[in-house]
Structure formats: C-alpha cells, structure tokens
C-alpha cells in the first residue's frame, strides 16, 4: 500500500528550545495511525508542520507525494484537521461556524453535514462561547469530517467528549477506515489508540522512539509471569535464566513475579522442578509499552507504575 504521509528527518526548533529532531515515519494510505507521546514530546509540533502552520528547519514532510509547505493548498483539499487547542470565533453560532468552513472548503455535501450534526447531537443555534467544552469539540470534529477528506489529521480529538460521543467518534473513524480514508490520530488516551489504530509511532523528547503495528509492539513487549509455589523457592533460581529481566520474590518466597522479555521456555522448565500451585501470565496493554518508553530514573513513569 502506498504512503500518504512521508516524514523524513523533520526538524523544528523554537529559537534555542527543542521542538522535534530528525523525526521520520510513513503512514500508509487507508490505515489508522496513532501518534503517541506525553505533553511536550512534539506531537503537536509534528502535526502543525504537516499542516504547514509551522515552517520546518530541516527534513521533509510530504502528503500524497506533495511537499507540505510548497503544495499546502493542494494538500489541504485532501485534509480534515482537528487542532489540539481549537479556537473559533466566540460570537458565531455552531451552525454559522460550520457553514463558514463549508464555504471556505467548497464542495461540502450539506445533507452529509446535517447527518454529522445529528450524529453528534449538536445544537447549532448556540454561540460558540456558550458551548460546553464537549460541544466546542463537536463543532471542530464535524468541520474536520464534513467534506469526507482523504486524510484526517486529528490532534487529541476526543478530549472533552462524553463516552456516548466518544463512541460516535469511534464509529466515524471506523467508517472513514472502511471507506479507505486515512486517519492520523495523536493521543495520549492509549486505550483509544489501541482499539482504533493499526500502527503507532511513539515520540519522546522530540524524537521518534518506536514505530510499529499495535500487534507488533505487543509481540516485542515485556510481560510478567507470577508463579505461586507450595513451598519457598530461592529467588536466584530464576535470576539468570534466558528471557528473565527482573525477579521479585513475594510472600516469603512462596511466589515469584518475573518480568519477561522473550521466550518463557527456560522459566517453565525451572519452575517445573518445584511444586507449582498456580502460574499466571500478564499481557501488558499498549499503555504498559508506552509507559516503558518513558521510563527513566526519577522520571514521570516509575517502574512500579508500569507494573500496575
């Protein structure tokens, strides 16, 4: 499948401060691509470079084979965009805002637009300043989807939406994917990415630290095995085995919790030498993988959090 987004060594600095550095990734046409990272990691900077709202200091970004900066108008005909912190004219009603952007885009099917308004349950007669956070988000989401764009670039799109509307949003993304359209979704709501996206990129401190399929990331993941024994077992029994990253002794040696990376064959064989009461394996979620990439000494994601 051809790439609709090609980012190569993209770099942006804000004066002396870091923006993003040497960011590279591809997004295939028709996929739902997750872009993960904590606040300040560089997600929004990357997206705003794709949208030609920022000018890159180095590298290249192409959408549908076109340079994002040079061919920005052609590209924007293909895109629906939800900014991270949307700001709209506070004195216009939701309906006026949607009508205005429909006119600026051109070629918007008003019947489809009304369907979206119905689906998102938006009262279009109220002024933007009178909307709740969730309703403001609905207006921005509708304007991004209303022209059935080939590519949706969504920066934390569901923040402020209630579960019902989040479900509706999931449905809209699913439909877009089924119609062969591409979704580039930045988020730190990992469950959302896990259930929606086929591939993810993880960005940290302005650099991409991982790109892969959601399932692929799970395959290379660190996982945990907890084994309960009928009698105490020496901890060093498992410490040097292949695939064991960490050992934690529990309940006075009656159980061990093993952090694993790789095959569990050696562990199972070693455990078989003792009377085993139970053996449980814990499959980490994408969240665990995500947090692992941000693990650092004294950092925002200490190990004990990663294991919860």
């Amino acid at each position: 499948m051809s790439s609709i987004i090609q980012v190569e060594r993209l770099t942006k600095r804000y004066g002396g401060k870091r923006g993003i550095d040497d960011v590279s990734f591809d997004v295939a046409e028709g996929e739902v691509f997750g872009f993960l990272g904590p606040n300040g990691a560089g997600k929004t900077t990357t997206i705003r470079l794709l949208m030609a709202l920022l000018h890159a200091d180095g590298g290249s970004a192409r959408i549908a084979g076109l340079d994002c900066w040079e061919k920005t108008i052609e590209i924007k005909r293909l895109i629906g965009y939800v900014p991270g912190e949307p700001s709209l004219d506070r004195n216009l009603t939701g309906g006026q805002i949607l009508e205005y952007f429909a006119n600026l885009r051109g070629g918007v099917d008003r019947a489809y637009l009304k369907t979206l308004i119905e689906r998102m349950d938006l009262d279009t007669s109220r002024k933007f300043r009178q909307y709740s956070t969730g309703n403001k988000r609905k207006v921005v989401l509708i304007q991004a989807f209303m022209h059935r764009p080939r590519l949706l670039i969504l920066d934390e799109p569901t923040s402020g939406l209630d579960p019902l509307n989040q479900q509706e949003f999931d449905g809209m993304v699913r439909e877009a994917r089924e119609e062969g359209r591409t979704v580039f979704l930045s988020s730190h709501v990992l469950s959302e990415v896990e259930k929606t996206c086929s591939r993810v990129a993880i960005i940290r401190d302005g650099r991409i630290v991982r790109v892969g399929g959601v399932h692929e990331l799970k395959d290379i993941k660190r996982y945990e095995i907890t084994i309960a024994f009928a009698q105490p077992v020496p901890a060093d029994t498992f410490a040097r085995l292949d695939g064991v990253a960490e050992v934690e002794t529990l309940n006075n040696g009656l159980a061990v919790r093993l952090a694993m990376q790789g095959a569990a064959d050696a562990v199972v064989k070693a455990a078989a030498q003792f009377p085993v009461v139970s053996l449980t394996s814990y499959e980490p979620s994408l969240e665990d993988i995500f947090l692992r990439y941000y693990e650092r000494d004294g950092g925002e994601a200490p190990r004990q959090v990663a294991r919860v």
Binding site: L53, Y81, P83, E85, E99, L104
Partner: protein, 542 residues
C-alpha cells in the same frame, strides 16, 4: 512573587510599569530638556505662547513661557496615550481571566471572590503608583537641568496625578467589563468613554460658561492639578475627587463581580428557552469568504466609528458656519491662528480655509480606527483563530488580503458617509463649499487609514498584539506632534515630511494632490507587500 494573588498580579505588571513609566517619563524628560532650544530667543518664546493660545482647546496653556507650564501644556495632549494601558489592564483584570478560563482555577482556591478581586485591584493601584513615581522621577531628572522651579515634590505630585487619572479609567474599565461578555467589547466601550471624557473636558475651553458640563468629566479634575506650573501646583480637592471616583467605581465593580456568574454578565437578559436546533444558517452573506466574514466581524465597530467621524466632520461644518463672524475676527487678529490656517493650506480666513485646517483631523481619526483594526488582526492571530481557517484550502495570501480588503471597505464606507454627512451639513447650514474639493477632502483620507492598517499588519508579523498596538499608537502620536506642533516649533521640512499628514495637504481648498497622495499609497503598498511576504512564511501561533 508567587505567594499571593497580589504579588503574582504585581509581577505580571512589572514590564508595563517599567515600559509605560519609562516611556512616558522619558517623553516628559525629552520635552523638558529641549526647552532651552524651544525658548532660544524671546521671539521664539513669544511664538510658543501664541501657539499655546491657539491650541488651548486641546490643553490649557498656563504660564507656558515657563519650563513647567510649557511641559504641562505639551504633555496634556498625551492623556489619550497615558490611559491606554490601565484601560486595557482594567478590562483584562477580571474579564480577561474569565475569557481565558483561568478565573475558574483561581476561584477554586480557598479565597473569596471579593478578596481575589481586591488583591488584583490593589496590585494594579500599586503598579500605577510605581508608574507615576517613575514618571515623576524622570520629570525631575529632565527638569532639574532647565528650571529651578521644578522640585522633586512637584515632579512626584505630577506623577501621582497621572496615576490617579489612570486609576479612574482603570475602575471604569473594570466596571464596564462586568456588563460585557468579552474583554474586547469592554475595552472598546471604555475607549469610547475616554474619548467622550476628553471632549467633554475640552468644551469649557471652547464654549464660554460650560464649566459645569466639563465638570462631568474626570479629565477636567486631572487638568485642575498642574504641579509643575510655578505658583499653581497640585489641586488637593481635584486629586481627592479622582481618588474617590476610582474607589467608588472600583468598589461597584468588585461588588458586581462578587454577585454574578463567572463568565456571565451583570444585568443580562434572560435567555429564551428553546428546543435544540440542528439546522444550518440560510443565506448569511457574511459566511461566504474570508473577506465577507472579516467584513461581518468589523461591521459593528465600523458603524460606531462612522458615526463618530462623519458626525465630527458634519459638526465642524455646522460650527464653522455658526461662528463664522467670531472666527474670522479672531483669526485675523491672531498671528498664531494664521499659522494654524497655514496648516490647512491658506493665509485667508475664509470658511473653506478654516474648515480645511479642522479637516486635518479627519485622517487622524481614520488612522485611529485603523489602529483598532490592526490590533484585531494581530489579536486574532495570537489567539489561534487563524489555525482552522488555514487548515482549509485558503492561501495565506488570500486570508491576509481578505482581511485587509474588509478594512479597506470599512474605510471607504466611513469616508463616503463623511462626505455625505458634510455635504448635508453644508447644504443645511448654507455654508458655501466646493463640493468637488469636499469630496477630495473626504475621500483622500482613505489611503491614510490603509497605511496605518498595513503598517500594523507588518508589525504583527513579529510583535504581540499589545506591543503592535502600542507601537502603532505611539507612531500616530509622534506623527501628530510633527505635523500639528512641528510647524510652530519650526521643525525642518525633512522632519515634517516624515509624518503622513504632510502629504494630506489641503484638499478642501486645492483638490486632491495626486503626487502627495501617491507617496502614501506607495508606502502603504510596500508595507502591505512586506506584511504579506512575512505572513506567507511565518509560524502561525497555536
């Protein structure tokens, strides 16, 4: 500095305190230091005295032949600029925080609303006092070299008087903002009140027996104190009135703030309950393009400015006709008034020449309107309002030029309505004017408005909205100084050519001066081209 709301607010004001205080103080110091040059000869001193009499309607000339008197008179004209920062800070203090949503967080702290508001007001008053002190000290520094009459005490009193008038408009802004949904509206209304207050104060200097009317304006009480004028000094009663007024209005604002919804307004009309609507608006002309939307956005403010500018022009026509005889005798008997007429391009005291001199204010007013429009552009960009617009297939060039075209349409509208109003006034009063020249005088102000808007757009390429507006306002004041006071001070021709007003000429007498007007058009076009080039490449704020 983060231990209390008071200290945090004071910290926020540290740059304006220094910037505004040093700027306005330095302006005063420069005026004082230049006095030996201005009063170089007895003839020059006499000319200044005469000039002061001509401009008495702007600022009262008392002992203008002394350093303190001259500086006070000259500084009096800047009152409009002095009050701008407190005005903006007053509307931003509570309403601005509500607009940004930060008031919700602030009020989640275990502090009462009244205390929050009072701490902020106290910080602002402290800031104004500090600003007044800086102005006072710089006044003393500049004045000590040229006059022994200027003492530290009188200089400080001068600064305190400025702080007091600023405090009054701060309180007015704070009070107005309790009744508006947005900070921007409150700033506009308060700016309108400021202009009205200045005009009301002027009235008693122009029309006899109207002191009672001018006493309705706080600016009147500000002008009663003249601490730098020898033998005149501060007026404690007037200063107390300003203090009481600011406390009263401030207290009313805090009282209202404590009783209304956060994000709501005092005295709001109850909303009609209605069923949710899912429909889209039909046939709304303002939603078709960036241009039409921009026009829709500025429509209301344009109408108010049209009313003010066209009304002012028509009023001038009526005044010139009604006071025809008195003005002619006054002008023929006063050499300084002769100089004033020369500004309008004539030596003779005909109705047209008198009106021509007054008409010089028309481009100034339109340029002030353009400053507000440039501010709106840079504020919208700063607030991230362009982000989604630029995510549509609209070239940046079209977005900027669409907005500029809307401002151009507004200036044309204002000019045409000014022409209509003055024509009607002329016909109604029987004042004989050349209608071709009247059209030239009314319509040739358009490039001046566009010039300022273009320069404002250019500045917005680099500067924040507040700095952009401040710089543009300052530029406007400098130009007014050069063109209106410059001839009286015999400024070199090269300096006078730096002011756009030089190129306005005297269209009411001599018709459109195409070559001069082309200079303004060319400079405006270059500024717009540079603004466009900058906007096409710059990073758009989130």
């Amino acid at each position: 500095m983060f231990r209390s709301i008071y200290l945090k607010s004071l910290r926020d004001y540290r740059v304006p305190i220094l910037g505004w205080g040093l700027g306005l103080g330095a302006l005063m110091a420069v005026v004082l230091v230049a006095i030996p040059t201005v009063f170089a000869t007895p003839a020059a001193k006499a000319a200044v005295v005469s000039l002061g009499a001509s401009y008495a309607w702007i600022a009262e000339p008392i002992k203008i032949d002394t350093a303190g008197g001259y500086a006070t008179w000259k500084y009096g004209i800047t009152i409009l600029v002095v009050v701008i920062w407190p005005l903006l800070a007053g509307t931003g203090m509570l309403r601005g925080e509500e607009d940004r949503g930060s008031m919700d967080v602030l009020l989640s702290l275990p502090r009462g609303r009244v205390r929050v508001a009072l701490e902020k007001v106290a910080a602002m008053w402290t800031a104004l006092l500090a600003m007044g002190l800086v102005i006072g000290l710089l006044t003393f520094a500049g004045g000590a070299k040229v006059s022994s009459d200027l003492t530290l005490g009188s200089s400080i009193a001068f600064g305190v008087n400025i702080a007091l008038i600023c405090a009054v408009f701060l309180s007015i802004a704070l009070l107005v903002s309790q009744f508006t949904q947005e900070r921007r509206t409150a700033s506009g209304v308060t700016a309108g009140i400021l202009v009205v207050a200045i005009v009301v104060d002027m009235v008693h200097r122009v029309v006899p027996n109207t002191v009672w009317f001018s006493q309705l304006s706080p600016v009147y009480y500000y002008n009663l104190s003249k601490p730098l004028v020898p033998g005149y000094g501060p007026n404690p009663g007037a200063m107390l009135i300003l203090l009481a007024l600011s406390m009263l209005l401030g207290a009313a604002a805090v009282w209202l703030f404590a009783r209304r919804d956060v994000g709501g307004v005092s005295l709001s009309l109850p909303e009609r309950s209605s069923q949710p609507v899912r429909a889209l608006p039909r046939a709304d002309w303002s939603l078709h393009s960036v241009y039409s939307r921009s026009l829709g956005m500025i429509a209301t403010s344009t109408l108010w400015w049209t009313l003010a500018i066209a009304g002012f022009a028509a009023w001038m026509v009526v005044i010139v006709k009604q006071t025809e005889a008195q003005l002619k005798s006054l002008l023929q008997g006063s050499p300084a008034m002769g100089d004033f007429l020369k500004l309008g391009g004539s030596d003779s005291a005909t109705n047209a020449s008198i009106l021509s001199a007054f008409f010089l204010f028309m481009p100034v007013l339109l340029m002030a309107f353009a400053v507000t429009q440039a501010n709106r552009w840079s504020a919208d960009e700063e607030d991230g309002l362009l982000e989604i617009v630029l995510s549509t297939p609209q070239p940046r060039l079209r977005v900027l030029l669409g907005r500029f075209a809307a401002v151009a349409t507004a200036t044309i509208f204002i000019s045409v309505l000014t022409l209509v109003a003055t024509s009607v006034a002329s016909a109604g009063t029987g004042l004989s004017l050349d209608y071709g020249n009247l059209a030239a005088a009314s319509l040739s102000i358009i490039p001046f408005g566009l010039l300022v808007a273009a320069i404002g757009y250019l500045f917005a390429g680099w500067l924040r909205a507040a700095v952009d507006t401040g710089l543009l306002s300052f530029l406007l004041v400098i130009w007014v100084f050069i063109s209106f006071i410059g001839p009286g001070l015999s400024l070199p021709d090269a300096t006078q050519k730096l002011s756009p007003f030089y190129y306005y000429g005297s269209p009411l007498l001599h018709g459109i001066q195409v070559a001069d007007l082309l200079v303004i058009v060319a400079v405006g076009a270059v500024a717009l081209a540079l603004a466009t080039a900058r906007f096409a490449r710059k990073d758009i704020p989130a």
